[in-house]
Every structure is written in structure tokens, then in C-alpha cells.
Subunit: 244 residues, 2 copies
DNA sequence: TTGCTTTGCGTAAAATTTACACACTGCTTA
DNA sequence: TAAGCAGTGTGTAAATTTTACGCAAAGCAA
């Protein structure tokens, strides 16, 4: 097998590339945010009613075009800020979707970002903006290819939350172990043994006992904890172990 | 905290979007491939001498601009084919890099893809194309932001190979357990116990004993195996387990 | 034939995960 | 005010998985 095929011609001068970059090969680029929240023991995702006639009755992710002179991550933060007013939140790039006909307005390649926010921190005027927190188990038939994007981000979240302390971004700063377990059960769609869950987290030793207890619960209140990010950063395990 | 900020104005009509897509917000998009190979018990990456004066003495990843009417994945396969002549190889999108000044020719956002190929399958005329297989531990100071892209892809490979049977793409179809272990040790940069490694893989039960033995080795030859992809697809585990 | 290297197959101890029990606290209400 | 209820807090024993090694046998080289 030979490598020469097509190789020489694919080496270009700076001038050629500049020409291509400036004229013929330009594509619109967007960011779409999958914004997860947690409320009433349910994992939610923030959707907006599509403003395009073609998808009139459908919900879609929050997105916008990237500006030409804007860093990719900066665009994601801008869009999240514009849509929710939030800064300083967890935001992570997930995947880029670039099928030719994915957008009715023409060729638009979109970079999906995933965000986890504490739903208590923004009781926002949802309805007048046609925004809605959807139960994760009830998200179907989104506009564009947003269903595929959402599914990808949700699977990624399920995976990442088991290996990294992302979940705490969805909880209040002070939380009970029960709330933490409800969060994991909601995201992973499973039930776990309460005693083993507790044992697991205590063994990791990243929870700080605040010596406070829950208020206004109709039963024995549980202790409140916060996550020790500093300790986590120092001690986090290096992943070694073959398993599939 | 309010959501109204900037929200209304960010809702656009199809016409507005079409205008933006067609004119003002267009950006050049490229694909860069991090092509891994395995040879002489070393993990290698395929690099090309940069053709741009600015990076004259530096090595860079293999990449090219995406065409306007070309699916993203299709572009990645095209570029891989143009550079190596290979089709039907493992290819996976890793991450998109979009800092404003990452490319000297102007604004170019690049989507990084990772490829694993069997280095035996293409003894290609490397030198005349200024291509070179670099030892993974000797990759520094690449052109553009390619060092960052490479590092990201390498870390991703290290993670993925532990959870999915990707490694077999780097080996011959028939391989010995020793070769398999050498591969894992090279990628993960660790030493493993030979007996436990063997036990681990036999327990997974995805290896097919070919009843053949190695040839031309200067010691007792080992048995040869191939990977049972069908069985893997049926039995692969669903990942549940909190650990960080 | 001997020595060398590497394969192939064990087993015992250590660590982790799983399954499950029971007392206690605080609220509710009869 | 006492009994019932719901959920918290703490174990412990069994099962499973991981780790750390030992040793015989195969094939090559001298």
C-alpha cells in the first residue's frame, strides 16, 4: 500500500491556505448547550421552544452562532450567560456534530457543550421566554438533530459523574447524603443500597461534615456535608485497570 | 437572578439565521488526525513536517480543511485516506479546538480525530513525504497548537483503551498475549504482572484461541489469539460504579 | 545435554463489593 | 403523652475481585 496517493497535492502553501480560509471553505459554526439541572429528585434539562416555523411545536437546545473573533469556549460561556444569566458554572465540551443537512438555514456545524447548574440558584421567569425544565425521561423528538446531541450529552454525563465529582454542581452547597444519593439514582437511572452508598462516599473521604442538620424535613433530619474540592484535587486517583 | 437578560434578542428568525450562516459568521473548519501505531513494542504517532515557513523545523499532525458540502466524519476519513491510503480503520472524534489565534492563516477551528492503525499494514514510502513515525515519548514542540491536541488525544487513548477493546486495532489480527501486554504497557506507561494480565483477559472471555503458535521467536513460542468482536458486542458490561 | 528465556497454569492473602439487620431520632396523630 | 411512621446512622459476614507470588515445561542456543 502506498502513501503517495493524494499526499503531495494535499500539502499547501500558507498563501493557498489563507485563500481557502478567507473565501471558499468557510462554514457557520454554532454552540448548543445541554443544560442539566436537578430538582424534586429529578434530573432536568433546560429547553427552549424552537423559533423556526419548520420546528414550530418542538423543543430545542439553547444555542447560537459563534462569532468570527470569539474563542470557542468563550462562545459557550456567552451563550450560557445570555440564556440563563449564569457565570462561573460547570461547562464542558462534549462533541461536535457536523452532518451536512443538520440545520435548515444551511451548513452549520455545531459544538455541543454540557452544563450542570444548581436549579435553586435561578428561579427565573421561565414561561415568558418559552423556556422549560424538562424531565430527562421525557425528552423526545427535539428539533434539528438536538435529540442526538442530547442523548450523547446525557450518556456522557452518566459516565463522567461516576468518575468525577461533577454531581455536586447540581446540588446546593450544603447537602445531605440522601440528596446526593437521589442525584446519582436520578442520573444513572438505578437504585442503590443506602448503606453501601454512604460507605463508598465516606471511604473516598472528600466530604466535609458541616455539623449541621437538615431543616424542615418531616422526619429525622440528616447531617449536611459539603464537597472538599481541594482534597480531591490532591488525592484524585490515577485510573489504571483494564475492564470491558 | 434573572433570565431576561439578553434572551429575547438572541431568538432569531430563520431569515436572520440564514443571513448570518451565509455571510457574516463563517469560519474555516479543519480536521486534524492523531494517528497512532504500534511497532517494536513502542507506541508511535504519525507526524508530517510542517509545510509552513513559520513552523519550518517543526512536526505537525495530518490535517486539512473541511469542504463546505462534506460531512464532518467524512472529512476525517478523507484526510486519513489521503495521508495514509487507509480505509476501514478505527477513527474517533476527540475534541474541537477553537482558540482565535491557533492558526497563522486566520481563524481556523479544528476538530481532532484519533485513529489507530496497524503499522504492519502500510510500510509506506515515509521519507519522500516527510512523514515520520514518532515514538510517543519523544513528541514535543509540535507546530500550531498540535502539542495540545496530541496530548489530549493521547490521554483519551489511555483512558479509552482500558474500557474498550480499541487496542486490537493496533495489533496484527493474530497476536500473542505477550504482544497484547506489551501494547497495554506501552500505551499506559506501566508494567503489569504477566500472570494477572493473562488471567484478566481470559476472565473477560473475548479472546479466541487460534490453536496456532508464534513463529520465529528465539524462545518458547506463545499461542496466538484473535479478538471476538461479536461476543464483545453482546456481552459488554454496562458501567456502573462510583469511583473518583 | 545444559543453561537460558519465556510460556502456561496455579494458589494464598489482601482488598473491595455486596447483601442484609437493627437501634435511634424526630415528627405526626390518636 | 404514647404509639406509629419514616428516614438516619452504624455494623458485620459472605462473596467477589485484585494482588502477589511459585514453579514446571517448551523451545532455542551453546
Amino acid at each position: 500500500m502506498s502513501l503517495t496517493l493524494g499526499n503531495q497535492k494535499s500539502i499547501k502553501t500558507l498563501k493557498t491556505i489563507q485563500h481557502e480560509v478567507e473565501t471558499i471553505n468557510r462554514i457557520a459554526l454554532s454552540v448548543d448547550c445541554v443544560i442539566f439541572g436537578f430538582d424534586e429528585n429529578k434530573l432536568k434539562v433546560l429547553l427552549i421552544r424552537s423559533d423556526l416555523k419548520k420546528f414550530q411545536s418542538k423543543w430545542s437546545l439553547l444555542g447560537d452562532l459563534i462569532h468570527v473573533n470569539e474563542d470557542l469556549d468563550a462562545a459557550a460561556y456567552r451563550i450560557l450567560r445570555q440564556r440563563t444569566g449564569l457565570k462561573d458554572v460547570y461547562l464542558e465540551q462534549v462533541e461536535t456534530f457536523g452532518n451536512i443537512n443538520r440545520h435548515p438555514a444551511g451548513r452549520v456545524v455545531t459544538v455541543a457543550y454540557c452544563s450542570l447548574i444548581n436549579i435553586q440558584h435561578h428561579k427565573l421567569n421561565i414561561f415568558e421566554n418559552e423556556l422549560h425544565w424538562h424531565d430527562i425521561n421525557n425528552v423526545t423528538d427535539l428539533a434539528f438533530d438536538h435529540q442526538q446531541i442530547f442523548d450523547t450529552c446525557y450518556r456522557r454525563l452518566q459516565k463522567r459523574i461516576q468518575e468525577h465529582p461533577l454531581g455536586f454542581n447540581l446540588l446546593p452547597k450544603k447537602f445531605s447524603l440522601r440528596e446526593l444519593q437521589n442525584l446519582y439514582e436520578a442520573i444513572l437511572g438505578t437504585k442503590m443500597d443506602r448503606r453501601n452508598f454512604r460507605k463508598k462516599f465516606f471511604a473516598m473521604d472528600f466530604l466535609i461534615d458541616l455539623d449541621e442538620i437538615e431543616q424542615d424535613v418531616p422526619h429525622r433530619p440528616g447531617k449536611l456535608y459539603k464537597f472538599n474540592y481541594d482534597k480531591y484535587e490532591k488525592k484524585k486517583k490515577k485510573w489504571v485497570g483494564i475492564d470491558f
